[in-house]
């Protein structure tokens, strides 16, 4: 089981993802913006980041860039969540992104599979 950092500014969605992941036996932390995410990553041991692509203030791309530029965090697996269709998004593989999930059709099972895949 893993520790997942949820970066999501819609509190209801974050709550839902946390419940789904905890039901699978994972531990979760939740933050709402890029800076909080970096602070949390400095303080806690995290195995995978579940990142919303659209955040107030800084978007997911900025978070990805920051993670990439951070020596200790550049290998951290990331699962992206977006309301855009996956085919509308650029190729994120160079940023440690293991999966891109379409939020609108996300289920507990799909999220569990994506997190397990990111950890494999």
């Amino acid at each position: 089981m893993a520790t997942v950092l949820i970066v999501e500014d819609e509190l209801l969605l974050a709550d839902c993802y946390a419940r789904w992941l905890r039901a699978e036996g994972h531990t979760t932390y939740h933050v709402t913006d890029a800076q909080q995410a970096l602070d949390m990553l400095d303080e806690q041991q995290v195995n995978v980041v579940l990142l919303d692509m659209l955040l107030s203030g800084a978007n997911g791309m900025q978070v990805l860039n920051t993670l990439q530029s951070h020596v200790d965090l550049s290998g951290l697996p990331v699962v992206l969540c977006s309301n855009a269709l996956p085919q509308q998004l650029p190729d994120f593989s160079a940023y440690g992104v293991k999966a891109v999930l379409d939020k609108s059709v996300l289920t507990r099972e799909k999220l569990g599979i994506a997190i397990a895949g990111a950890l494999a």
Partner: protein
């Protein structure tokens, strides 16, 4: 077939297509919430308590109400955008700004509380009458307050005020969110209400709500605009002042 599809995808969107694309985008967020909350409510493995179930059911109700408001506004927008004003035929009458604002705040307070926010209203004690259609004016103010709630910082109030000017009454709605960059602010001032302009610092915003609010306000001789704010964002709606004497 594939080439034809690619040509269609690459075509720039005209006015109505842009609205459809923005509407699809704006509806996706609340519908995603409805889908996820529903999944949680029927998932027995999550072990939700009765209290938690009640909380999520209440949220489902609030998000559904917001989605229905958006659909209602899109219907109004379509009627106005397509020069169907005659079929629309709403009546203008003297309307008390204070009553409309208080009704909006009353109805959106449960929604604001879900986001840990408070709605505050400041106005003159005497009635501020405008020439408007009460329902449409309500929709304009709802739109601005709903926009502010979604972009405000939890724990800080959304401030609504109504001030009388020479020929209009201005309803201002201020949020303490990330604000809009100077560059976007100037662009937005130029295009506000005429085209949809996604806002920097306002995640997921397509600008559709402001576009519709301006359409509705303009149909009553008013307009919406962007005020000055050192922190956060202030949008306002101007409504034509009624010269009618009041007995209130």
């Amino acid at each position: 077939m594939r080439e034809r599809l690619e040509r269609v995808v690459q075509q720039p969107l005209d006015g109505s297509s842009a609205i459809i694309a923005a509407a699809a985008h704006e509806l996706k967020t609340p519908l995603t919430l409805i889908s996820h909350i529903s999944q949680m409510l029927v998932d027995e493995q999550l072990g939700l308590s009765e209290q938690e179930r009640a909380k999520y059911a209440r949220r489902l109700q609030l998000v559904s109400a917001r989605t229905l408001r958006l659909v209602q506004h899109l219907t109004l927008s379509y009627r106005l955008d397509d020069n169907k004003q005659l079929a629309f035929a709403f009546e203008l009458e003297p309307v008390n700004t204070r009553e409309v604002c208080e009704q909006v705040l009353h109805e959106l307070t449960p929604y604001a509380r879900e986001y840990e926010q408070e709605l505050r209203f400041k106005t003159a004690s005497r009635p501020q009458l405008v020439v408007a259609n009460r329902d449409i004016m309500y929709d304009v103010v709802v739109n601005l307050v709903d926009n502010a709630i979604r972009h405000n910082v939890p724990g800080r109030p959304v401030q609504v005020s109504a001030l009388t000017h020479a020929d209009h009454v201005r309803v201002s709605v201020h949020d303490s969110g990330n604000g809009i960059s100077k560059h976007d602010l100037n662009k937005l001032r130029e295009s506000l209400g005429r085209e949809m302009q996604p806002l920097s610092g306002h995640a997921g915003s397509s600008g559709l709500g402001l576009y519709i609010a301006n359409q509705l306000a303009s149909a009553m001789g008013g307009a919406i605009g962007l005020g000055r704010a050192s922190q956060g964002t202030t949008f306002f709606a101007d409504f034509l002042r009624s010269k009618q004497l009041t007995l209130w």
